[in-house]
Symmetry: D2
Subunit: 442 residues, 4 copies
């Protein structure tokens, strides 16, 4: 395999490598400024910390800026690339596929782009999935389709078999779109590649509808998800308001982070209780949710509760924990649990209520992206292509302080962004709901 | 109570009464044709039956046409009307409230329009619900709101107390919007009114998101419901297509009639199995659903199943039947049942599948009406007002052969429209899905 | 050319032919009731006229019911069909293409289905347009696309060249989707076919976003059009309400019939003036629109006007009339005319106003169909296929009194459905707007 | 007037004042971190410039962070606030009104909140507009309404009369939502307030659907605007693709900055030419738009052009420039101009084309905000309230590097953000359209 001219390049926080060979062709289209690896975006925009750090000679954490470089490392005429989408569906997958394919094809004249079917399974011979030849004609009209034209799957696969497969197909750049598990797999794949002395770039695009990727301020699909989540909340609100002691209960996505629940509650503004994984709450007791709900019903006659799927897991502590196929701990179903607990509570008190339960998760995950996410995805895809073509590897394309950046895989893998209990978002939720602490005093 | 000038008038199939007194004011706006009670719409538009019936001197079943009459029976300056919405939410309730209020206020100069809160509960003193004074200002901007500004409730209330309440408030026309149970209640209320010798008109507007009112070709909210149901199916299809052996399972409304499931399946066209209450199917066995699903997965790798909530109830025959508060038999949850049955079936066969379950019911019920339903509701409301003002009673406003008509309460109550197993709709579903009979041979 | 086994069959009002040969295969799927040509739908559902006509022995006007027959006339294994979409875009074209292709392919095992590109131009060699081979794979996912995958064009083409082309390609059924001009072309094509002694079925599906096809109660795309039209009206209303003396002026489609304008005004309900081709109005003078608008602004501070493109054409009488390429008289632009006239009127009176003009026509025409139109189109396409396969010709698929019917081309061509000035629709518009006659007294 | 306890505070770039008096009540809700005026957000996140500047002892430009302070300056029990919305409509106005009213009412217990009707006109007695008493009940359900419940107007008013009016009503905080002209008016009002020695805070929220406010990375309504703009482009694309030599021409908002046109083109991706004010282009000549369009039609048979309203103004240089009421130069209508120029060009060359022109401006401006803009507006409103309550003045609430910040009025007024010709956005547009420079060589 000899498509590489030099070894690939891993970006790191606070440090930049200088690229070299193959000058990009001077065609009419490309009369724009290239990005240099010295263009770096600060991690922390707060000036106070910064000045003191600089004075103390400390390293200032920063990210390499994403974008086209004035050198490329691969010979496009021979280059073979592959693209895989992994894990749960998320609005925007097809936008990213399209953007990568068009970026490679028209931006760099790459002609061999392989689509791996059904996530990591597609690399493993025993599953027998086909490889798709990705061409502009195939992807040009997929923007308005939800899902992923490549398909996906959950769960880990043998890293060695994946690298075998890359070698066999002579892939030099692998674009991986996926969540936490995929980023960890990408990291391991890159390791084996190094061990085997291969020159294969691994470029990841983080996918999490929950918006919980560490060091990534925004992830694609989140905005689309919030949009439909607010419709679900509106529905729940309409149901709640229409019946005596009406209760609307909506379970939203958010296994470890409550961004969707919190943001949708702010968009809709008719929510009275938001429960997220980051903030502990009590169910029973004078300060708990049930009592607070009873007060709210007494006062206003109806209530809306939004619960993220990972909230209140302490309530299941005695139960055996389940894992999904990707190895993530699967939270017990807090939505059904709350539905039963609330119904039982009021039945016992002989208070007539009317509870409606809405779980829009799969309707949301399978949506096509809205315009905002489409644009965002087109930038993610384009920047992934630029990063790959310039020979960079072991990175993911992130977004930080309004800039697209390269984030080292290792800096993000295994960590998680969460709603800050004392930050602006949660403060605004508390102001909007007036829900109070929902905790018993000790 | 003396707002009536003559006794009220019940329409009947095949027979028409002649109205008389109070000539409607000759103002500039009303230079249109009034409808006469002799304007009748045929029940059956098939010519063959008709000619032979007429020749044999048989009665030709027909409905009184709805619309403004050239006489009104009530003195608008003294008239008090009431309006109540009952049962489950349905897109268009607010459109009907608006249309009735504006029709009474501007069309007939009625100034006393009472909104009864929370369905039939609102008539019963012990609940303590307020009465709302309905004015144009209050209703003019409610078109884009889902739910019902009056609220609703399920379950029967004492008919005598309801009539007491009507007497106490001096109501002369009661507009009731509701489903099967409400139509039966309307019928009983009208009976007691007759027994007590009162002159109160009862005008019903049938509400059933399932579109299953007998002798009513179309009910409001149905079109809006189908629209979102197709989105849910699209989502399920995207999920199914994206995973190896992906299965999308959508439960839609339809307790006794599968119109929503069948119609949405035709709108979306990516459905492989439609299960409705009217058509029996087997689950197990060589001709059953599970085997057919397995074949489909083997052939195409993914499948979408739409199930109406009332389908497959024979599968629960041993279980105790539950009733909801309105006295309807509540079907056992076929959605969750199928989800479990399918998962178990394939697990036992060691076939990896990925099933996603979507239940959009409450998101659908709580929607605002789309444009089509809005227009339809504005006609329903207007025609209800015309019927009430002309002193008619014991009727519901229906839609038949493209005309709005008066249907006697007794003709519709307790019966149900269903999908015709050998008719065009179901035939088209069979053609679109290719699902076969799903029955074991005997 | 010998694919026909017997000559084709033209339906007529009040008369039915009896079909015969090739029995349809007895496969598992088709265990439903066939439609007989004796199944006829009454034109007029009013019972009074009917009884007297029958007693007098008069013919009762009725339509042949559409649907599958138990005999087919063509040998599917050899049959070649063609499909063409003509004239302006309309939501649902792709639904119909899909429905016809799937209906022919799966319902009757037809394997040669040609798509004619760019309307009637596609038949004429000098334009050099390709023919498209229509397969299920090509059409299965086009439901969510607006426009027409076959393209279209306006304007007449040589009927003889079209028939030459049909002969050359051995087409036995031609499906034509188009408006008034297309229906007339279909009629002429059928005539030439008869003259040449050919056996080619011509089946038309009427396309008019304006819903103005004679004897067709509903045309596809209309419902979708009304839906977006109401959004435009909402926008205009928001603009009008937000400024002192704000005026929202929306021009909607409707060259000869104001159904879209009238229906959208009922759906949105914030409209103060609706102007349609069927109802004359004066602009100047004490009873005219400008004076009425001034009164409305004085009273309420804002106003919304909806004008159909064909309204008020008398105002242009002195100007030379233009025709579009299809030979239709093109109405002068009443929207821009009113915009200028209103602005001038209030400027001269020194009254400050803020007029916003919205013309959403091409945004509407190019929409994908909503769920309701999708279902409707799927029935139209299916019934067109059934009609063609059973050897019928010179007909269009219509919808009358809630049934799909066969309408002879000659019965509909050259005539037009219009809003009835004294009917329910217009009466409701007058009630909803309170706009008065807008005419000066003589 | 003595509601102020100390003089108000103007934020400035690179400098921070220290607030003091009235400690905010320690209630259960407010257990979150307050923001200190020392929390500042860097203007430039590029690390290279930064380090050298710090080493050289230069001032580092930065903004004060927005958010609640631990001191407030006004006594809420006596405080009177006013709120005005000015200029053209923009999605999100009602969200901001709601957020400010609820923030003042529930966050700070302010009870006197006045809504000024119809923009700055509302301050001027001669117009006779009412003042609206803004309460939670009035604003709680306005999220889904487009427009502004307060109304708006264009054009300047006497600054002295405005300040007279503020004095007369005892207003201590004025919230102004508006564009460029409004920000300049706010600046002048604040000046007169200082001259008169009054203590009135002026807090502005910048409104520009064009997203062209200087030093503000994102303005509300922009995202919603792009969303509908993409629908218009889709429509134009459908129309273009459906006809031989079909051309879709869409005029979008963007008087001086082409952000909407450029972003919508990226979201939709079927655009071939984007014309914006920032980038000069030639119409005629071998390198001009018309020739490029001809080539595109020759090659692909259809084309889509998106033009911002302020593009190509050099083509009108000989014409007299018009100004709108707000004193802005009104661009000549490039949309109609291009429509005519293109039609003439191809007519002269005898090439048949089909051009469809779409101008969705007022449908876009009058939309309700989407979920994303709703959340954004709720933060803007909340932060405006925090800024006002802490006694700050002469500022606008901006968004920079992912943080809400205080921007001094003077820093932003009279300047404009524009699409950077060599930046990422425009580069991506060039890549997506492949449109080339559209310039003749000299």
């Amino acid at each position: 395999m000899n498509c590489h001219t030099i070894s690939t390049d891993t970006p790191s926080i606070g440090e930049a490598k200088i690229p070299s060979p193959i000058q990009k062709g001077e065609n009419g289209l490309n009369v724009y400024d290239f990005v240099s690896d010295d263009d770096r975006v600060l991690l922390d925009v707060s000036i106070t910390n910064l000045v003191s750090k600089i004075k103390d000679g400390e390293t200032i954490p920063s990210f390499e800026k994403a974008g086209p470089r004035n050198k490329i490392y691969f010979d496009p005429s021979k280059l073979k690339c592959a693209l895989v989408t992994c894990g749960g569906l998320c609005p925007g997958l097809n936008d990213i596929i399209r953007s990568i394919v068009l970026g490679l094809y028209y931006g760099y004249n790459v002609r061999h782009i392989f689509g791996i079917r059904y996530g990591l399974q597609g690399f493993i011979p025993k599953y027998g999935h086909d490889i798709v030849d990705l061409t502009p004609g195939l992807v040009v009209n997929i923007l308005e389709m939800g899902g992923s034209i490549l398909g996906s799957s959950r769960g880990p696969q043998s890293i060695d078999e994946i690298v075998d497969s890359l070698e066999r197909m002579n892939i030099c750049i692998l674009f991986m779109v996926g969540g936490d598990g995929t980023i960890m797999a990408a990291s391991k794949i890159a390791e084996i590649i190094t061990q085997r002395g291969l020159n294969i770039s691994i470029v990841a695009i983080p996918k999490t509808i929950d918006n919980d990727i560490f060091m990534v301020s925004r992830s694609f699909g989140f905005d689309t998800a919030v949009e439909l989540a607010t419709k679900a909340i509106q529905g729940a609100h309409n149901e709640a308001e229409a019946y005596p002691n009406g209760i609307g209960l909506i379970k939203l996505m958010g296994r470890y982070s409550g961004f969707i629940a919190a943001t949708a509650a702010l968009a809709e503004q008719n929510v009275n209780f938001v429960l997220i994984p980051e903030i502990d709450f009590d169910l029973a007791g004078s300060g708990g949710l049930l009592k607070a709900l009873e007060k709210r019903l007494h006062l206003r006659g109806h209530a809306v509760i939004v619960v993220a799927e990972g909230a209140g897991q302490k309530l299941f502590e005695c139960e055996k924990q389940e894992c999904d196929e990707s190895g993530n701990i699967r939270p017990s179903d807090i939505g059904m649990f709350l539905k039963d607990a609330i119904t039982t509570y009021f039945n016992e008190k002989d208070i007539e209520t009317s509870l409606k339960y809405i779980d829009p998760s799969y309707m949301i995950r399978s949506l096509p992206s809205n315009a905002n996410d489409s644009v965002f995805c087109s930038f993610l895809g384009r920047n992934a292509v630029h990063a790959g073509m310039t020979g960079k590897t072991k990175l993911l394309i992130g977004h930080w302080n309004d800039h697209f950046v390269h984030i080292p895989l290792d800096a993000s893998a295994g960590k998680r962004k969460q709603v800050e209990p004392r930050g602006t978002l949660w403060r605004s939720v508390l102001e909007a709901t007036g829900q109070g602490p929902l905790k018993n005093e000790n």
